[in-house]
Amino acid sequence: MKYRFLPNIATADLAFEAFGRDYNELFENAGLALESAMVDLISLKAREVKEIKLEGENLEALLSSFLEELVFIKDSEQLLFNNILCDVKQMGGGRWRVDAKLGGEKIDRKKHKLGVDVKAVTKHLFKIEVRPDKTYHCQVILDV
C-alpha cells in the first residue's frame, strides 16, 4: 500500500498515512497522498515537469516543507502532480535534503476530477518513523 486516509482522526481535517521501502518512496507516496486529496490522480496528465530542491534541519522538517511546497505550488502556479520522484539524502550536521521531480498539469475544473483544497500541512500528530519490519511510515493531518 502506498498511502491511505484515516477515518478516525481529526474530524474536520484530513489525516493520512503513507508508506515506503525507503525515504525516497515515503516522500513520493506522502506527496501523492496529498495530491490525491485535491484531485483524482487518474484524471491528471503529466504534461509539465517541475524540479524542486529543499533542505531541512531534520527529516520531519524536510517532509513538512516538501508537502508545504506542493500546497504552495497548487495556489501560486495552479499545478497539481500525479508523478513524483524524490531523492532524499542526509547531509552534514544532521541536515537533510530532497531533490524532487514533479510531473503534472495546471488545474482545469472541467477536465479534472477535483477533490478538496488543502489549506495547510499541520504539525498535529505528525509522525515519521522506520518500523521494526523496515517499512518507512509517516502520519500527516492536512487542514482542508
Binding site: 474530524t11 488545474i107 477535483l114 483544497d117 504539525k123
Partner: protein, 486 residues
Amino acid sequence: MDAKFLSEFKEIEKGIWDLPKSYKLGMRVPLRIVATEKLLKEMDDGAVQQGINVSQLPGIVGASLMMPDAHWGYGFPIGGVAAFDLKTGILSPGGIGFDINCGMRLLTTNLTEEEVRPRIVQIVNELFDAVPTGVGGSGIIRLSKKEFKDVMVKGAAWAVEKGLGWKEDVLHIEEEGSIKEADPEAVSDRAIARGINQLGTLGSGNHYLEVQKVETIFDQNLADELGILQRGQVVVMIHCGSRGFGHQVGTDYLNTFEPAMKKYAIIVPDRQLACMPISSPEGKEYFAAMAAAANNAFCNRQVIAHKVREVFAHVFGKSAEDLEMDLVYDVAHNIAKVEKFQIPNSKSQINSISKKSKTKTVEVMVHRKGASRSYPNQPVILGGSMETGSYLLMGTEGAMQKTFGSTAHGSGRTMSRTQAKREVRGEDLQKKMKKHGIYVKSASFSGLAEEAGFAYKDINEVVTALSTADTSQPVASFKPLGNIKG
C-alpha cells in the same frame, strides 16, 4: 465522551460545564464547555483533550472555553475560545487556524421563495460562473503587488472604493472590515504569491455560497431591524476566508514559532500549539500579518457579495438596490483580537461567573477558532450543513460575562471527511438534495459527499445550547434553496 471522563464535569450554571483545573497537573484554568447534556455527552474526546491542552498555555485568563459545536481540530479544538493576558500571555496560530478570518456573511433580498425557486438553476449556475470555487481557484481580479498590499491594509473598504460594494456595507462588518494593526511588511513573498490571484474566490471544504429562504422567525422585532421581514423571504449566505494567502501566513509563522519557543522557555503539549508571547517581537509581527490576512478575507467576502448582487440583478432584471440586497452582517470565526471585558475580581469567583460580583476591566487577546464574536446587539451567523439549514442569532450580555463575547460558528462536524465519503457518493447526494428542493453545484463530487448533513451535529441542538447558556439568542432560521460549493 467517555462516561468516566464525563463524570468529572460539573454544571456550574445552566448549560455551562466545568472540568476543574485540579483535573490535570499543568492546567492553569478550568476547561469550560457550553453545551446541552446531549451535546456534552457526544463531544469527542480528542476535542476535549485539546481544550485541556489549551488550559495549560501561559497567561490564559478565566477558562479554556469550548462552544457546543466544538470538534477535534489541530492545536486548539475547533469551537475553542481562549483569552490571554497581554503581558504574560501568548498568541498562537493554532488558536486561530490556517484559514485566518474564515467567516460568515449574510445578505437580504426582497424576493420570495415563489419568485426565486423557478429560477434557482439559473441563479446557481450564474453564481458558479461568477465566483470561482474549488482547488487552487484563481479569481478574475488581477492585482499588482502594491494593490494587494492595499487590500491587506484597507480590507473590505478597498473593494468598496473600487466600486465593488456599497458605502454602508462596511458598517455591518466586524471591525468595519479592517483591523488597524495590519502590516503588509510582516507578510512573506510566498504568502503574496499564493494569494495575489485569489481575491473573490470561495475555496473548498466546508466553504459555500448559499441561496436560502427564511424558515422560522424567533424574534420578529429583532428580525425586522435586521431586514428579515417574513417567512419565505430569500437571503444569501457566504462562508469563506482568506484563501491561500492566509493559509501561507499561518504556515510561515507556525514554522518560525516552533524553534523560537526555546528562547522564551515555552513548552506546549502539542506541536500545533506553537506560540509566542504577545508582547514579543515575533508575537507582534505575527499579529500584524494575521491582521493583514484577516483584512484580505473581509475584502474577499465583500468581492463575492458584489458578484452575488450582480448575478441577482442580471437574473431578475432589477438593480441590487431595488432588490434590497443589504448586508445584514459579516462576522469572523477564525481570528485573534485585542478586546476588553469585565471579569470577576477575585480568583474564587469561578463558580458564579454571571452573578454580580466585583469586577475589573481587562484587555485580553481573545483567540476564536471556529467561534464567533457575540457582542450585545451584534448579529451572529451560524452556518449549518448544506442539508439542514442555518441560523441568524443576536449577541448577548451573557456572552460578555461568560465567554469573552463569543459563541458558536456552525453546527460542528461529528464524522470525518474520509468516513463521510464511505457513507455516500457525491452524485447520489446531489440527486437526493434536488428531490428535497435544493439545487447544488460543486466543483467536486467527493467534496460534496464530505459535506453531507449526517456528518454534522444537529444545529437546532447547538442553538438550544447557546440560548440556554445565553451566549446568543436566535432571531431566524434559514433553509437552503440552492448552493455552490468548492
